[in-house]
Symmetry: C2
Subunit: 246 residues, 2 copies
DNA sequence: ATCATATGTTCCAAAATATGGAACAACGGA
DNA sequence: TCCGTTGTTCCATATTTTGGAACATATGAT
């Protein structure tokens, strides 16, 4: 197995629940001789992929990751443009907003904009969600054809429930969820794409369940729809469906 | 040469001025057979370190980097705490704020908080600065002993000018710069540390040169000093020097 | 102090991987 | 059509990685 795959396996051990790792942790969790883990992590330190915390033996991702994440965000005009929009919406409504992107079968947050309300959803950037189990993910899946979605899920064939959810999103122009990935949290999401690069991203607003009534939600949807619509127009995204609020 | 070093060399090619790379770019710039570059980048794609933009052959850093950057930020209570503080200062004064960290001889931004003023410094996260050539870097260097700084710069011995700058920062408790790394941009910075982890970070406010007078700057320094002082007190940072505003 | 336990590092030959050159295929422009 | 690109695949050779054990160092308990 290539050392690159091992390095990735180490990096993948990190999560919201596991913010630091020692050589022994890695050896145990990857079931690898600790000699290996030791050398591997030394190599990763040398390349800046890992760094030690202070002068302890605990490791966290290296600072290169910060730079690369920033480059990722800047590499896409679509993301930059959407960030501005969501940032505005977030301050306007006081709720937390996200920009997300599809990566294989998961969605991951590219940028987050914490809300300002006293009761707000805490940013959970870095946490990956199953695409089909989140509003933001489904808003992106709904932009793909049924065949493309099926190809993505060839291993675990998609359910009829998801199919009908997606076709409803295609009609409505937006996706919603209520306490789906996180208890007490509702979300609305709209996807836009850049025909030039075939990127698709999702603009999403999350808010505590129960403090927003139907009217409030519709206002947010309207604002989200308008912001997304402007971006779609700017980029010439013909597949964009203006959200339809009955 | 280990493939891990090659992977890092590829990632290091990315910068604010180079947001995407092709196989040929990499082969040329790293002076490597393109067969190598092709296989290397394929491996990096497989591990998620790189991803193609849409369905072009241009590559950008992979989405893993986004998650890892988020984990880095959350791995440190000190960073989380300082982020809140700088975020507040940034909205209060309307100027852009940063949290930075020292990585060998460079400082890199961990988090940025764009200002709200019409005339504001655009966030330049991901751009690394020489530690000794930026206010934020010097504020951190000033926390280290002269011997430690000398050890860091053993290859290129430090100038007397830097020495005297650092001792002044130690007396004043803050670092400042005027149009140093970027034309038209001034900065003030204060460093705090966490004795438990030996981390040192810098809280920094940047603003357009000429629109802030001495009084305005002193007000910001005072607010920055108070915020940093509270953090230092919380973490038991005995090395913190309360900025001294004459 | 002494022992026990856990940590991370270094050594070696065997096994697996990366390397560079060239040939190959695919695309777009003149 | 031809030409200059691009990215990919093939192969034997050279290099790196692997796993076991010995070694060193730190932490905690008796």
């Amino acid at each position: 197995m290539s050392i690159l795959q091992n390095a990735q396996a180490v990096l993948k051990l990190y999560s919201a629940d596991c913010l630091e790792l020692t050589v022994t942790d890695v050896a145990r969790r990857l079931d690898m001789p600790k000699a290996n883990a030791s050398r591997l992590m030394k190599a990763m330190r040398d390349t800046g992929m890992l760094s030690t915390i202070g002068d302890t033996m605990r490791h966290r991702p290296g600072t290169v990751m910060l730079d690369l994440a920033a480059i990722f965000r800047r590499s896409s005009r679509l993301i930059s443009r959407a960030s501005e929009a969501v940032s505005t919406l977030s301050t306007q409504f006081g709720h937390t907003g996200y920009i997300s992107i599809l990566d294989r079968q998961e969605v991951t947050a590219v940028a987050d904009f914490p809300g300002t309300n006293a009761l707000r959803v805490v940013s959970n950037i870095g946490r990956r969600l199953s695409a089909h189990q989140s509003a933001t993910g489904r808003s992106i899946l709904a932009r793909m054809s049924d065949d493309e979605v099926a190809a993505l899920y060839e291993e675990q064939p998609l359910t009829g429930s998801l199919r009908s959810q997606l076709s409803q999103i295609r009609r409505n122009g937006f996706a919603a969820s209520s306490q789906e990935s996180t208890a007490g949290v509702d979300a609305i999401a709209v996807a836009v794409g850049d025909p030039a690069t075939h990127e698709i991203i999702s603009l999403c607003i999350v808010y505590p369940h129960g403090i927003v009534d139907d009217d409030g939600r519709n206002q947010m949807l309207k604002a989200l729809a308008r912001a997304a619509g402007e971006i779609a127009a700017d980029f010439g995204d013909s597949a964009f469906v203006a959200p339809n609020l009955e």
